[in-house]
Symmetry: C2
Subunit: 334 residues, 2 copies
Amino acid sequence: MVTIKDVAERAEVSISTISRVLNGTANVAADKRDAVLKAVAELDYQPSTIARALVGHRTGMIGLLVNNFADPFFGTLIRGVEQQAAQYGMQVIATEGHHQAEQEEAALRALLARRCDALIIHALALSDWQLAGLTSHCPSIVVNRSIPELESHCLWFDNDQAGYLAAQYLLGKGHSRIGWIGRDEDIADNRDRFTGFCRALQESGIPRQNAPVESAPATAAGGYQATSRLLTKHPDLTAIQAYNDAMAAGCLRALHERNLRLPDQFSVVGVDDVYLGEYLYPQLTTIRYPIETIGQQAVHRIHALLTNSAFDADHCFKPELIERGSVFDISRKV
Amino acid sequence: MVTIKDVAERAEVSISTISRVLNGTANVAADKRDAVLKAVAELDYQPSTIARALVGHRTGMIGLLVNNFADPFFGTLIRGVEQQAAQYGMQVIATEGHHQAEQEEAALRALLARRCDALIIHALALSDWQLAGLTSHCPSIVVNRSIPELESHCLWFDNDQAGYLAAQYLLGKGHSRIGWIGRDEDIADNRDRFTGFCRALQESGIPRQNAPVESAPATAAGGYQATSRLLTKHPDLTAIQAYNDAMAAGCLRALHERNLRLPDQFSVVGVDDVYLGEYLYPQLTTIRYPIETIGQQAVHRIHALLTNSAFDADHCFKPELIERGSVFDISRKV
DNA sequence: CTGTTAGCGCGTTCAC
DNA sequence: GTGAACGCGCTAACAG
């Protein structure tokens, strides 16, 4: 690897001069400047970011912890983070936590050992205080979670409102017998979306027995199972609201297998708007979780943290309805 | 940040001793060893990987270049790479190239400047010689592409065989009027899969006019368009083979919209087996592109390169049929 | 304007 | 078995 010393010899100047022209730290005589640039080009010299990091106490790296790379939800998050980081001349080093406390902790420690300038964290398994402990020595933004003591460093999504919005949309299309297929793990996201769902029904005066519930893993297979159970017990339903798009996809499959004509005979709505929506049939009407925007905002905040500048206090991201084709207006049919 | 010096002071030994117990480089008296360990724990000391990298000339980082994070295909690749890297105690730093030569080059340069120990590259826009130039100073593995001069450093997929396998499967199920929906960009993947498709038909004595072709972008929307055009011109088709799963998803939508009963009335097969297959209805029969395995193998090779050990010469990954529900055996129907 | 020097945090000689 | 000293590649403060 060619070092600053090699360049200095070739350009016949001192290493400081190299450093100066490359960083614009001070004025350098035009002829020497040219000689340096020439030598740099000829040698294809790239300053070592690690040597720079050692002396500058900045690595230019943002550590990112996500659950699972293969999941497009996180892929989209990574992309938002990476693109915005590039704007600030930083790079991203991402790791998987698999929703396991030990792995999440190990990943964070590795990121810390790399001396990342800042961390962006999506962790479900770690407790609030564990997270607080691990991040105490490094500027961190926690996404998709709200930790009371760290609130100004959290970016989250209004899951309650998402559930509410989806249900309201269904109600507005004339549905009154709506099933809910939820996630079987008791996590805040699921609770909140369900709470919003219930609130919307209640406001419309729909009795609870008109809104049966089934739980399953938050996957397509889970959505399929939950839907099957739901339809067997409650054949009078006209719509299903799913915890997320993956479950909604499984739900659609269960409906297709029953030879229902979609969307005319049954409506489905999801939450997340991750990738899947346009691939399914009918194309899924859903609630958008602006995960890419959240990733970008996280980087903005980090930049603000690192430069001690101010940032907006707006931590909570609002859901947005994405109307595609999976919901049918049954009020017109009647 | 707590440094080795802090630990040394606290443990009342020299920094060399700290280094020795942490790296097991030499024997240390038991009492001092304990003192060191105690101080390390109390201070929660993590050796700086960047200082280590500077002196050890190893960063423990693998640079990874992919097209697009949000695409599950690459998400799965990243996951394969990351998991295997973790086995070797290395970490991954990933960047996006967006299939644009300048961005791919910039990304590689950034990775090089970070002094990654090795690179794993999925680049479409860069020319062979550009790639060769960029990677000449760093052990690199090129995935999903075969470069003659770098062949032992390439890992690729037998696209021809994939196209052949898919077509053969369709033929075996009694289909003889099969459409092809391909990618409108002229890249090797598309050409090879199509070549394999044609070979299978030819071997079965199917005349070319029974196998019409349409091209479109390699997305669900493209698959939808191509299918629509194909069906309008050739209403007698009984099956479609798609360039990839995304196009197959769009294809399914076009079929659903024509109120075809699937899979009974029309069969579809894709290639890639990325994530989508189980979400669609009918669940997609496809050809598996073992991208996660390729990612793992790439890391194995890198490790071999870095340790000068031998590795298998097996560069070409074979396709595998994944039978799900989107192909109907029409020979039984007749 | 420019070269020399002192670290950044750590692994690794060398003497002791 | 252990500590002092050097250097990895670079930036920043210091002289000139």
